[in-house]
């Protein structure tokens, strides 16, 4: 019989708390693939490519899942290898201007400085009729390190929300990051004969993440209906979202100070999705994007009408064959003219905003600046 059962229970409690604390510290500092598996995997892929091609000019796409699924960077890398250009897709699920800023800082800290940046912008990220902005609702604070969380606080209307998510995930990592921990240990590996949703198998060598299977009309219909329901509240009335606008401006300022040329890309949206926008919202976000382009002197590529309905899984995420077409068009129409020649460096077609010019941050108004 146990002599000191109370002592046993105390040790159990202490060991459990210590274990969770240890796991939390590990997740925060030593296990980035548990904390933010998608970014960590992409960074690993990019490092490997950079090691093999250290002298190539690096073109990186940042952005959301639209960019992540819609931009087949490997295709362009192959085509432009002779021009010594390496293209990589670093767009992340749930991404927006805030996560783009985090991602850029992470890449720079890792010594992976892009020579040209494509930023996939989702127009509805910059419309906030009421409640929280879209990216603030979607992003889970547990993906960020504590220092990043603190740095991103000015961009949230409710910074406490992401703080709470972070604290919960760090206090109970075994519960709230169990899927990532299991993936890390490899216990959920799928059979070769069944579709795999393990990130490692889905994300290709250049960061393209074709999450959805091929055409499946009934599931596509259901997914489209769900997406329209999700985005409809952001597409009826227009109010420029001040904090996402601030984040985008700060992102562009960071690129400017790093002398990284930028191209803003609005990825394709199905006609059904585009029909969500009220005239007011369409005019408002279009005007905003144009003003950003003028202010920062960056090209804004509007690819929204590049693909028909059936080329999307859910109205705004491209299926693989459509991603191939869109990538080729982006490469030919946008990237090729910016390619380095003997006379000019990569991205020389983009003239950065002059030093000291205003940033046009007035809430609810878009500043119209001269186009290049």
């Amino acid at each position: 019989m146990l002599r000191h059962p109370a002592r046993d229970l105390l040790w159990f409690l202490l060991a459990f708390v210590a274990g969770q604390l240890g796991l939390a510290l590990a997740v925060e500092h030593a296990l980035p693939d548990v904390r933010d598996p998608e970014y960590t995997l992409k960074e690993e892929r990019l490092r490997r490519l950079r090691r093999d091609k250290p002298d190539h000019k690096l073109v990186v796409m940042l952005g959301s899942s639209r960019g992540s699924l819609g931009f087949r960077a490997a295709l362009l890398s192959e085509l432009l290898d002779r021009d010594r250009v390496l293209v990589f897709n670093a767009a992340l699920s749930g991404g927006g201007p805030v996560l783009d800023l985090v991602c850029l800082r992470r890449l720079l800290a890792a010594g992976l400085r892009p020579d040209l940046l494509f930023i996939d912008v989702v127009p509805l990220h910059f419309n906030q009729p009421d409640g929280l902005a879209l990216e603030e609702r979607i992003l889970n604070g547990n993906r960020l390190r504590h220092s990043e969380l603190a740095a991103m606080r000015p961009y949230w209307d409710e910074p406490g929300r992401h703080d709470r998510q972070w604290w919960k995930a760090r206090l109970l990592p075994g519960v709230l990051q169990q899927a990532e921990l299991r993936e890390y240990v490899g216990l959920d590996e799928l059979s070769l004969e069944a579709p795999s949703d393990a990130l490692d198998r889905l994300i290709d060598s250049h960061g393209w993440y074709p999450r959805y299977p091929g055409p499946d009309p009934p599931r596509q219909q259901a997914a489209t209906a769900a997406a329209l329901r999700q985005y409809a509240p952001f597409a009826t009335a227009f109010r420029l979202a001040p904090r996402p606008v601030q984040a985008l401006n700060d992102l562009l300022a960071a690129c400017h100070s790093e002398r990284i040329p930028v191209v803003l890309v609005v990825m394709p949206e199905a006609p059904a999705f585009r029909s969500l926008y009220s005239a007011e919202v369409r005019a408002g976000v279009d005007a905003f994007l144009q003003s950003v382009g003028r202010e920062w002197r960056v090209p804004v590529v509007d690819a929204r009408d590049w693909s028909p309905d059936e080329e999307f899984w859910d109205g705004h995420h491209l299926l693989p064959p459509a991603a191939w077409k869109v990538t080729l068009r982006l490469g030919g129409d946008v990237l090729l003219p910016l390619l380095p020649t003997q006379a000019r460096p990569l991205g020389a077609g983009i003239q950065p905003r002059p030093q000291g010019a205003g940033l046009g941050r007035e809430t609810g108004q878009t500043r119209v600046t001269q186009r290049r």
Binding site: M1, D8, W11, F12, A15, F16, A194
Partner: protein
């Protein structure tokens, strides 16, 4: 409210604190009754009222039976049995019998359209009606005095740890406990927590993970290869064991923490050497109930071979039907009846073959018997789990004849790791001194072991929590 949810954790922590702060046994009994009612009402308030009402009715019937004699006494017993079986029959079996009758009439060429009741089966119905029947019969036979205290009786029926999925509690074991004052005991808390943790491991880390292997295959067995079908069957065997014995462990552990002792419900059933041994180790509370209230009243194994065979078949068929209103469950019960009969006949044959009997008792023979018993049980699980008998037939056919098809839905490494862990657990449990060895470890090491088990369990639990299998019975 499932045992493995944060909602239950919150409920239990508050209840535990209030319970042990209350002075005296009477307030504690009523607190548990109220908590149990609230626990049941988390599924359905209306059904909680129904269960409470029937429990009160059984209480009054028990008193009436004890106060009566002769034909009146017998009549009251029959009334009680009728009410309880009627409740079970209406909610659980009415639609099944009506559908089957309609089908039979159609087959016979008659036009018939019978009503469909579509009643929601109260959770745990099969368990507490059997407990109530047990009580009324015991009072009738004079084995047990009628419980005069309503609170004690309600606690016997409604006690939340065993209310929804057993173990089926005997009134002779439980009612005396309601009268005994409970004293705080760290040892009992330790034991209860340890059992609860074991149950959690079995449910989350074993059962729910094995469901990931089993569910896709059983949903469409015609698409899968022979190997995948066998693996899914083995996975389901681990799932149903982990789920049910895990729930029982959690129920017994929770009861312990509140000062109540419930009987063990499982005893390493996959180490059974024959089907009779299996039913002494699997769902012990149900098998003993069926033995005492069906098999023995029918005559048991007195009255010759054919009567014994009849009694076994009837008992196990009813046991199958208890699990659910479907021909698959009936067939499963019949199969187990046949396996038990087969075992008896084989035993009789071995009695006259001493060398065979000696070899079967050896280590190699014992391993063979365990393997055969397990394989037989697994094959019956196909009938139990498949949606219909026709689908079970397809699956069994593809298992017994080599068939091509899809591989396992998940990597087999996860399956073999889990099966290995279960095997190691069984091997440890077989060692007679494992408990003493555990107690001799330093307390920090034991604490670390429990904490590691809990952390691993939580990490391994699949994202979407699955309800306990036996809640549907």
């Amino acid at each position: 409210m499932l045992f493995c949810t944060t909602q239950f954790l919150g409920f239990f922590v508050v209840l535990f604190a209030l319970y042990w702060l209350l002075p005296g046994q009477r307030p504690r009994v009523w607190l548990l009754v109220a908590a149990s009612f609230w626990f049941y009402a988390s599924w359905s308030r209306q059904l909680a009222v129904l269960v409470g009402a029937f429990a009160c009715l059984d209480y009054l019937l028990g008193l009436a039976i004890a106060a009566s004699a002769g034909r009146r006494r017998r009549g009251l017993l029959l009334l009680g049995l009728g009410l309880n079986l009627g409740l079970l029959g209406v909610f659980k079996y009415a639609d099944f019998f009506l559908r089957s009758l309609e089908q039979a009439l159609h087959t016979a060429g008659a036009e018939a359209s019978l009503p469909v009741l579509r009643l929601i089966v109260p959770v745990g119905l099969s368990f507490y009606t059997f407990e109530a029947i047990n009580y009324l019969v015991d009072v009738y036979r004079g084995r047990l005095p009628a419980e005069r205290n309503l609170g004690n009786f309600l606690l016997f029926i409604l006690f939340f740890p065993h209310l929804v999925a057993g173990p089926i509690v005997r009134p002779r074991d439980f009612l005396p406990q309601t009268r005994r004052p409970k004293r705080w005991s760290w040892l009992r808390l330790h034991l209860g927590l340890r059992l609860f943790l074991l149950g959690l491991v079995k449910k989350l880390a074993i059962a729910d993970r094995m469901a990931l292997f089993a569910d896709p295959v059983f949903a469409d067995p015609a698409a899968y290869s022979t190997a995948a079908l066998w693996l899914a069957t083995l996975a389901y065997a681990l799932q149903v064991y982990g789920d049910f014995s895990g729930y029982s462990d959690m129920a017994i552990g929770a009861a312990h923490m509140l000062g109540y002792k419930l009987a063990a419900n499982f005893n390493l059933p996959y180490l059974a050497v024959n089907m009779a041994d299996f039913w002494r180790r699997w769902h012990i509370s149900l098998s003993t109930w069926l033995r005492d209230h069906v098999f023995i009243p029918l005559g048991g194994s007195r009255g010759g071979r054919w009567r014994t065979i009849r009694n076994l078949l009837l008992t196990m068929t009813l046991g199958g039907l208890w699990h659910g209103a479907s021909w698959s469950y009936v067939a499963w019960g019949v199969l187990h009846g046949l396996l038990l009969i087969g075992h008896r006949l084989f035993q009789e044959m071995c009695d006259s073959r001493q060398r065979l009997k000696t070899w079967l008792a050896s280590r190699a023979g014992t391993i063979l018997r365990i393997a055969v018993t397990f394989a037989c049980f697994c094959l019956t699980l196909v009938v139990f789990r498949c949606a219909t008998l026709a689908v079970a037939g397809v699956m069994l056919g593809r298992m017994l004849l080599p068939s091509a098809g899809l591989g396992t839905p998940l990597h087999v490494r996860a399956f073999w790791l889990t099966a290995g862990a279960v095997a190691v657990g069984h091997a440890l449990a077989l060692q007679p001194d494992w408990r003493r060895a555990l107690e001799r470890l330093p307390a920090p090491l034991r604490g670390l072991g429990y904490a590691t088990a809990l952390t691993l369990t939580v990490v391994l639990a699949p994202g979407a929590g699955k309800a306990f299998i036996y809640f549907q019975f």
